[in-house]
């Protein structure tokens, strides 16, 4: 791999031990990926903030002890802790103290403490064509697909190396020629009414991830104009069941004005037709429990946006959550503050909803044992909850989640899915 004099300085340790360690990891990765050179990035998003276990903490503290500082504007993904509310839940205090140390280590490097998995819905969102190094699978697919920024799928541990050096191996989705579609996914007979419903996107995303794996799908047949939140749900689903880092929707996403443009004038290597039967099956797969009582509704993976708070406020105004059901929303501290200022939190809290910020149920061990049967409108929560938390998860639309929370059992409106 060709290194610039600046890269060599970092690698040789002339710019300190943190840069040396980060550049050593980056250049070894560049060799694994057959990179010919490194390129400069102008922004980073760090997923390594999620506290998993001691090794990730030791890594963060090693870098921090070397005096590591980020070289580019850098946002932080969800942490392992809601600093103010974790004591209200089942988070063990030893776990909390380690998660807090990990947060401090990354903050000490000069990153912005955004603590969100939806950094594209903050003022730090990148622009079309910008070279960035992002971690967090749902953020990666949104940045690439919806914004048209350029990022590889940065795993935990590598994202911070990119932020410290401002350099990455020039491979994969950083390079225009690798951003064309691989497979064509055509919707057939999917009513526009369903396409406009929020529950269509996580279900379709779940199916898309299974079809595409780690390839780039090009979607045709979307007649609706999906909102950012709907595209966020689509990407999060596809990046959970598969490792989709970029999708194109013809006439919707910025690199797909036409089918030919989305494929960079190449032919698709395969074509899939999606019917209502496929979508119904995918929707059923997202539910791991039956139509039974529920202990909790959880919304906010990816983190709830202001628009989602507004939609929820309309649905819950004047109603009350069932006394046996907890209703949890996960978002960032910034979106919570904005939602409060906008006056939408009153209706949500009067309904009985609780907030956890800066983390989510998958990133912090907050759920007490008595909460076993959950419901969500998120494909990502639905996909990971059975394995990660050993609990059942029913899937429904936002309106289904509200009706179920009021009734205390799973209620789903199937009319759009017939």
């Amino acid at each position: 791999m060709q290194l610039t004099p600046g890269d060599r300085e970092m690698l040789d340790g002339a710019r300190g031990p943190a840069m040396r360690m980060a550049m050593r990891i980056l250049t070894r990765m560049g060799e694994v990926q057959d990179a010919r050179e490194m390129l400069t990035i102008t922004q980073a998003h760090i997923d390594s903030t999620i506290f998993i276990a001691d090794a990730g903490l030791e890594y963060a503290e090693r870098l921090a002890s070397f005096g590591a500082k980020v070289a580019v504007p850098t946002t932080l993904n969800v942490s392992g802790l809601d600093e103010n509310r974790w004591r209200e839940w089942a988070v063990p205090s030893e776990w909390a103290s380690k998660a807090f140390r990990q947060m401090q280590a990354y903050q000490s490097m000069g990153a912005v403490p955004t603590w969100t998995c939806a950094p594209y819905q903050t003022e730090h969102a990148p622009r079309f064509g910008q070279q960035i190094a992002w971690g967090e699978s749902n953020a990666i697919v949104f940045a690439n697909s919806v914004i048209g920024a350029r990022t590889e799928r940065y795993p935990d541990l590598l994202d911070i190396c990119a932020a410290i050096t401002g350099r990455v191996p020039a491979v994969g989705l950083h390079l225009d020629e690798n951003r064309g579609g691989d497979l064509l996914v055509e919707l057939r007979g999917v009513a526009r009414m369903l396409q406009e419903d929020d529950s269509f996107y996580p279900v379709f995303g779940h199916l898309l991830g299974k079809l595409a794996g780690n390839r780039i799908p090009v979607i045709e047949g979307i007649e609706a104009r999906p909102s950012d939140d709907q595209l966020k749900a689509l990407g999060a689903g596809a990046a959970s069941s598969g490792s989709v880092a970029l999708f194109h929707i013809v006439r919707v996403t910025p690199e797909a004005p036409t089918r030919a443009a989305a494929f960079l004038n190449r032919e698709p290597c395969e074509t899939h037709t999606i019917t209502m039967a496929d979508l119904r099956r995918a929707r059923d797969e997202l539910t791991s429990g039956g139509r039974e009582k529920i202990d909790m509704v959880v919304l906010g993976s990816p983190h709830f946006s202001l628009a989602e708070f507004r939609a929820l406020a309309e649905l819950v105004r004047g109603r009350r959550c069932h006394p046996d059901v907890r209703f949890l929303l996960t978002t960032s501290r910034a979106v919570e503050a904005i939602a409060r200022h906008a006056g939408v939190m009153d209706a949500v809290e009067a309904f009985g909803a609780k907030l956890t910020v800066d983390t989510c149920i998958l990133a912090t061990p907050m759920l007490p044992d008595e909460i076993q049967r959950l419901m969500t409108n998120s494909a990502k929560f639905a996909y990971y909850t059975p394995g990660l938390l050993g609990r059942s998860m029913a899937f429904g639309s936002l309106a289904d989640c509200v009706e179920s929370a009021v009734a205390g059992r799973v209620i789903r409106d199937d009319s759009l899915w017939k």
Binding site: I25, S48, A53, A55, G56, P155, L157, S240, Y383, Y384
Partner: protein
């Protein structure tokens, strides 16, 4: 039988093969306290990969895979080695960082998809550099 591949993280290891017919996300799929595969939708759900030579088509999903595998290497619950059909940067990264932090090596070898399809769970395998060797007598092909 010997299969020649490319060592993307060079090293030596041996163990019983555990062949996954489908991709695996380590986050939500691998218990780094025990080495058990805990993705209940996965074909290897309930199997333990600790100390085994794990053959995987590719990794899936979350960017947190690398932290889980790094912790497994630290805790001694990782596979002995990993074999995959393409240079999987997530797995390689965990192994590279483990060398930086702990001076421990998790060898990773890339072999062709055809060779990967010939592997069967249960055989004893040894990784030496880019080679995957099967020592078990009477099972030569």
């Amino acid at each position: 039988m010997t299969i020649q591949g490319q060592a993307i993280v060079p090293g030596q290891a041996s163990g019983e093969l555990l062949v996954s017919p489908e991709p695996l996300s380590f986050w939500g799929g691998y218990d780094c306290r025990t080495g058990e595969i805990i993705d209940r939708r996965h074909a290897l759900s309930g199997q333990n990969a600790r100390g085994r030579v794990l053959a995987l088509p590719f990794t899936r999903g979350s960017s947190t895979t690398t932290q889980v595998l790094l912790e497994a290497i630290r805790a001694g619950t990782a596979p002995a080695a990993i074999v995959c059909p393409e240079a999987d940067s997530f797995l390689a990264l965990a192994a590279i960082v483990a060398e930086e932090l702990y001076g421990r090596t998790l060898p990773i070898v890339v072999i062709s998809a055809e060779d990967l399809a010939r592997l069967t769970t249960g055989r004893e395998a040894t990784i030496r550099g880019g080679f995957l060797c099967f020592d078990e007598p009477g099972q030569n092909e």
